[in-house]
Amino acid sequence: MIRQEQCKVISQIKLAENIYELTLQGELVHEMKEPGQFVHLKISEGYDPMLRRPISIAEILPDESQFKMIYRAEGRGTALLSEKKPGDYTDVLGPLGNGFPISVAGRGETALLVGGGIGVPPLYELSKQLVNRGVKVIHVLGFQSASAVFYEEKFARQGETFVATADGSAGTKGFVTDVIKRLNIDFDVLYSCGPTPMLKALENQFPHKKVFLSLEERMGCGIGACFACVCHTGDDPEGYSYKKVCSDGPVFKAGEVVL
C-alpha cells in the first residue's frame, strides 16, 4: 500500500563524487516488499523544488523500520536533499511501482545483476533478497571513473563482483557489456538498471534469456495519474498501447516496452 509519511533522517553519508547514501526511518518501510521499487520525495516545503523526486530504494531494513537510498546530487532537488542532516524529516510517498520479480530465479540458479552508475543502487536490495533465496548472484557494475564507484565491497560480500569504468581508472576499461562478453558469464536470469543505451545493449545481447530491466523517466505524480512517463509497448511499438514507467514499471521484462 502507498503511504505518505514524514520520515526521519538517520544518516547521510557521501559515498563517492556527488553520490550520497541517505538512511530514513518510517513505518512505510513495512510496505516495501519488492526490490526495485522507489519512493517519491518532497524535498523542501516550498516551491523550490515544487515537484517530488523519484529515488530508488537501495536497501530495506525492516527490523529498524529503515531504508536506504543512494542518489547523485545533480539538480536543485537532489542538491538540497544532500544537505539533510540526521534528525531532519523528509516527506516520503511510497513505496511506488513494481520491482524486480525475484521468484523467477530458483534456488541454485545464477542471476546476473548489471548496473550502470546511479542505476546500481536498487540492485543491492535485489542481490540480498536473491542470496536469501539461495540464488547465486554475479554483479557487473559500470561507472564513469574510479571517483564514482560505490558499494563495490558490499556487492562483493553477496557474490562475485566485476567493475567496469569508462576511463579504465577502476576495474576493466569499457562497458558492462564488454565485461560480460569477455568473461563469458553464464546465467539463468539477468536483472539490470541503468542508462537506456546500456539496457538496450543488454536486451539485444541476450534475446533468448530471461531479462528484466528497470527504466528511468522524468515523472510527475509517480502514481500513474499524470501520463508523463509513458512508453510504447513492444507488441505495438507505433500504436496507442502504452505502459507507465512509474506504476506499471519501473521494472519491465525485456521486450515488454520500447526502450
Binding site: G224, A228, V230
Partner: protein
C-alpha cells in the same frame, strides 16, 4: 445547513472541490489512496473520439513554483472511456464532469453526444484550450466566433450542461467568455495552462520533446484570479476556477475573485491527498470568516453590496 453544498447547472455538489482534468487520470490511481466519493466532482481526463498516444517524452519539466506539461491528450478514446472508465467510476457517489476534446468540430460533437448520455456524467467540460496538440485544442479557444459556434453545436447534442474551458493564452479573456455565453454555455471553467518553455543548459535545447508546454501550478494563480475577477463581472455564467490551488485559503481567494467552485490540478501530484485535506479544512475556515455557506463568498472582491467585516480571527 452544510457550509460546502454548492448548486451549479447540472451539478448538485456536496462540496465545491474537484480534481482538474488531466491531473487525476480517470481516478483509478487515487482510489487506492482515498474514497473518491469524498470529492465534490471529478473532471476526468480529456476524451477524444479515437485513442491518442500523446507526445514523445520528456513530457514534463519543472519551473519556478510550477510545471510545464506536454502530455498531448493521451487517452484510450471515446469507446473505452465510456465502456470501461465511466462504468468503473459508477461505484462512487460522485458526479463526473467529462472533458471533451478533438481536432475538428465533428470529433467534439461525436464525443459530446455519446459521453453526455452516461448516467454519471453530469456535465461536460468543453476543452477548447489544450496548448499541446497540433490541431484543434487551443485553436478553438482563441478565436471568439469559432468558440461560439463550437459551443452552440456541442450544446445541441449534449444531454447535460456544458461548461467551456477557457484558455488564458488570449489578449481579451472577457471576449472569449462572452463568446462561450453567446454560444449557449451553461458555465465556464478557467483557466487552462499558459504556454511556456524551458531550455536544458546541457543540450541548449528545450527540455520538453514537444518544445513548448502548458504552465500550471502556483505560478499561474494570480493570472487565473485576475481573469476570473474580470469575467465574473461581465458574464452571468457560473465559473469553476482553477490554477495553482493547494489550500483552503486558495479556494476562498478564488471564490472572492468570482468562482462558484474550484478544481485542484498540479497540487495532486505533489500531495495526492490534497483534495480531501482541503475539503476537511474548509468548513472551519468558512465559519471563521463568518459565512454559513461557501457560495456567499463568490464575487466578494467586486461586490459593492456585500457586507464587510467578516474576518475575525
Amino acid at each position: 445547513m452544510n457550509s460546502l453544498n454548492v448548486s451549479l447547472p447540472g451539478l448538485e455538489l456536496k462540496n465545491p472541490i474537484m480534481p482538474a482534468s488531466g491531473c487525476f487520470g480517470f481516478g483509478r490511481e487515487f482510489s487506492q489512496l482515498y474514497d473518491l466519493s469524498k470529492l465534490g466532482a471529478i473532471m476526468i481526463k480529456a476524451t477524444t473520439l479515437e485513442p491518442r498516444f500523446g507526445n514523445p517524452t520528456p513530457r514534463v519539466a519543472e519551473t519556478s513554483a510550477g510545471m510545464l506539461n506536454a502530455i498531448g491528450l493521451q487517452n484510450p478514446g471515446l469507446d473505452k472511456v465510456v465502456n470501461e472508465e465511466l462504468v468503473w467510476l459508477e461505484q462512487y457517489d460522485v458526479p463526473i464532469i467529462a472533458n471533451v476534446a478533438g481536432s475538428q468540430e465533428e470529433d467534439y460533437i461525436a464525443v459530446a453526444r455519446k459521453i453526455s448520455a452516461n448516467r454519471n456524467v453530469h456535465a461536460l467540460e468543453l476543452n477548447i484550450s489544450c496548448p499541446n496538440v497540433k490541431t484543434g485544442g487551443m485553436a478553438f479557444g482563441t478565436i471568439p466566433e469559432i468558440a461560439k459556434n463550437l459551443t452552440k453545436k456541442v450544446k445541441e447534442v449534449s444531454e447535460v450542461p456544458v461548461y467551456v474551458k477557457l484558455s488564458p493564452n488570449v489578449t481579451n479573456i472577457v471576449e472569449m467568455a462572452k463568446a462561450a455565453e453567446d454560444g449557449g454555455a451553461d458555465g465556464l471553467t478557467m483557466i487552462n495552462t499558459l504556454v511556456g518553455m524551458r531550455i536544458d543548459l546541457k543540450t541548449g535545447k528545450p527540455i520538453l520533446a514537444n518544445k513548448s508546454g502548458g504552465l500550471s501550478g502556483p505560478a499561474i494563480k494570480p493570472v487565473a484570479l485576475r481573469m476570473i475577477y474580470e469575467v465574473s463581472q461581465q458574464v452571468s455564467l457560473p465559473i469553476i476556477g482553477m490554477g495553482g490551488i493547494e489550500s483552503a485559503e486558495d479556494v476562498i481567494e478564488y471564490f472572492y475573485a468570482g468562482a462558484s467552485a474550484v478544481a485542484v490540478g498540479t497540487a495532486n501530484f505533489i500531495d495526492p491527498f490534497v483534495c480531501p485535506k482541503i475539503i476537511d479544512e474548509l468548513p472551519e475556515l468558512i465559519g471563521k470568516l463568518g459565512y454559513e455557506n461557501i457560495s456567499e463568498c463568490t464575487g466578494r472582491s467586486w461586490n459593492k453590496f456585500e457586507k464587510t467585516s467578516h474576518y475575525c480571527s
